[in-house]
């Protein structure tokens, strides 16, 4: 598969007000010192995270702590091979997170498929489907390597360089195209990325294209989830 070069610049121009710049730097500093991670534990890399979090290496001293839902989290850790079925969940999880959000690919499998490079059931290169901020290669990387990678991410955030979440909005057509190649043309997530991009003024020429046109052909409006037990549904139908 020939990969498209998607390196459009996403850095934000510095604001002219010096006080606003100080505020932005403070915010970037806070972001770098407080990272809530959501580990989507696929594959074998997940086993390296408990030692990194607990008393041996203690991530909390760097301000990194685990969170349980995507709404609360900042970092999405993908810790191993991503099967096609898993990738759907990963994408839905990623789209629910609040920006700025960061994706960390751990293990070789997320870089190039690793030992599953021949498999028909895995998505090989994670960055084709999601904007990955940092890869931590290894099979599997030890906790020291995980922490080293997260510190790298911290320094990127502090310098305001970790902006790849904007790339997902600005290049949505590319990512959606790759997703449609795997999941078929009727792939739709519960989050309307184009509307969000428009709302937060993150839209670019590459947000919409031929792939999003396919999506818009069959896109269904979202309905509220009806929380009912099965027998209640039956009763409702009878009435």
């Amino acid at each position: 598969m020939k990969r498209k070069d998607i390196s459009i610049p996403v850095e934000q121009p510095k604001r002219s007000n010096p006080l606003a710049n100080v505020f932005d730097e403070l915010m970037d500093f806070c972001r770098s010192r407080s990272m809530f991670m959501l580990h989507y534990c696929t594959g074998c890399g997940a086993i390296e995270l408990p030692p990194a979090m607990t008393s041996r290496f203690d991530m909390e001293r760097l301000g990194i702590q685990p969170m349980v839902t995507p709404r609360q989290a900042d970092i999405l850790l993908i810790t191993g091979y991503v099967s096609i079925k898993t990738l759907k969940r990963v994408i839905m999880t990623y789209e629910q997170m609040a920006s700025p959000k960061y994706v960390v690919g751990i293990c070789s499998c997320t870089v190039n498929g690793g030992m599953y490079w021949q498999s028909y059931a895995t998505a090989k290169v994670l960055k084709d489907y999601l904007p990955v901020d940092i890869y931590i290669a290894g099979c599997m990387p030890r906790p020291e390597a995980v922490i080293e990678g997260l510190r790298e991410l911290m320094s990127d955030i502090k310098q305001g360089k970790a902006n790849s979440w904007q790339r997902y909005y600005k290049n949505y057509d590319y990512y959606l195209g790759n997703q449609q190649k795997l999941f078929g043309d009727n792939w739709q997530t519960p989050t309307d990325i184009i509307a969000e991009a428009r709302h937060y003024n993150l839209i670019s020429e590459q947000t919409e294209g031929k792939h999003t046109a396919v999506l818009q052909q069959h896109q269904k409006p979202l309905e509220a989830f009806e929380a009912r037990l099965k027998h209640q549904q039956g009763q409702a139908r009878e009435q």
């Binding site: 403070l26 915010m27 806070c30 972001r31 010192r33 407080s34 809530f36 607990t54 008393s55 203690d58 909390e60 001293r61 301000g63 969170m67 349980v68 839902t69 995507p70 709404r71 609360q72 900042d74 629910q96 997170m97 609040a98 920006s99 700025p100 969000e196 937060y200 509220a224 989830f225 929380a227």
Partner: protein
């Protein structure tokens, strides 16, 4: 008291409560880390978390009630702070009293219930129903304790309770006068703070943090601020009722942190009860102790 003086106090008291609350949260996390033989977070970690959450660039709101609910949750505690006398500042404490405070301390839970209700997340609904059940469980011993203290000192005014205790010295403290009520309050304390072994409504591994499940960005930030206020309010109330309030800021803060350290250090060595067990336990042991204490006080 001049109006200007009163307004200054009303602004200062919640701010002080927030700052002390930040350090209480830090103490909780540091204690947990030490018990688990870790280093723990740096000094300003709670502040970084809150600033970062408010600095999120996309905020996911589920509607107006979701936002009002968070405002109610934080606002309820801010109102409670103005009724809690601290050294040198009484705010409007002499206008209210124990009963007003007990009433206001329920507002945050109700606000949270409203806010979480609109998120329509099943985990959130289970969480909030558990939170209200827990409130139901700890409120019985809590009201018994409040009633006993009010009977002992013959007043529901917190300023008077503090003044009487400080006049009589350490022998007049609630903990010496009413030891059984003190123990009953101590058992209810972790439930009021929502910590283990009564942490039924957060339960990250079971219902994905319950009420917080759909909260991101500024909503979660609001809940973090609420947590700071919650720890502060409950510890200060306990200090006021049983430990003679504060003669000056130094002794006051020492007492507040010592009281908060009891449930927080218990929290990290115990697992969690189930909801019905919390209700059974809360309505049995602290209530029996509270009733006995009440009999001693009234006898």
């Amino acid at each position: 008291m001049s109006l200007q003086h009163l307004l200054t106090e009303l602004v200062l008291m919640p701010i002080i409560a927030f700052v002390v609350g930040l350090f209480l949260v830090l103490m909780m996390r540091k204690l947990g880390a030490r018990i688990q033989r870790r280093v723990g977070p740096p000094l300003l970690q709670p502040l970084y978390d809150i600033l970062k959450l408010y600095g999120k660039q996309t905020q996911i709101s589920h509607g107006l009630i979701h936002e009002i609910g968070i405002v109610m949750a934080v606002g309820g505690y801010i109102a409670a702070e103005t009724f809690l006398p601290v050294p040198g500042m009484n705010g409007i404490a002499d206008k209210g009293g124990l009963v007003t405070l007990a009433y206001i301390m329920m507002v945050p839970s109700l606000g949270l219930a409203m806010g979480v209700g609109q998120c329509a997340n099943p985990n959130g609904s289970i969480g909030i129903s558990r939170a209200l059940t827990a409130m139901f469980a700890y409120d019985i011993p809590f009201i018994l304790v409040i009633f006993g203290v009010a009977y002992q000192y013959g007043t529901t005014s917190l300023t008077d309770v503090i003044a009487i205790q400080q006049q009589q010295g350490m022998a007049g403290w609630g903990v010496v006068q009413m030891p059984l009520l003190f123990i009953a309050g101590l058992i209810a304390l972790p439930a009021m703070m929502g910590k283990h072994p009564f942490e039924i409504y957060v339960a990250p591994a079971e219902i994905a943090t319950g009420p917080m499940v759909e909260m991101g960005g500024k909503f979660l930030g609001g809940l973090f601020i609420m947590q700071c206020f919650q720890y502060y309010t409950i510890s200060v109330l306990f200090v006021t009722l049983f430990l003679g309030g504060g003669e000056n800021w130094l002794t006051f803060l020492i007492k507040v942190f010592a009281v908060a350290a009891i449930p927080l250090s218990i929290a990290y060595v115990f697992p969690r009860y189930r909801t019905e067990d919390v209700l059974r336990m809360m309505w049995k042991w602290p209530v029996i102790l509270g009733l006995l204490g009440l009999a001693l006080v009234m006898g």
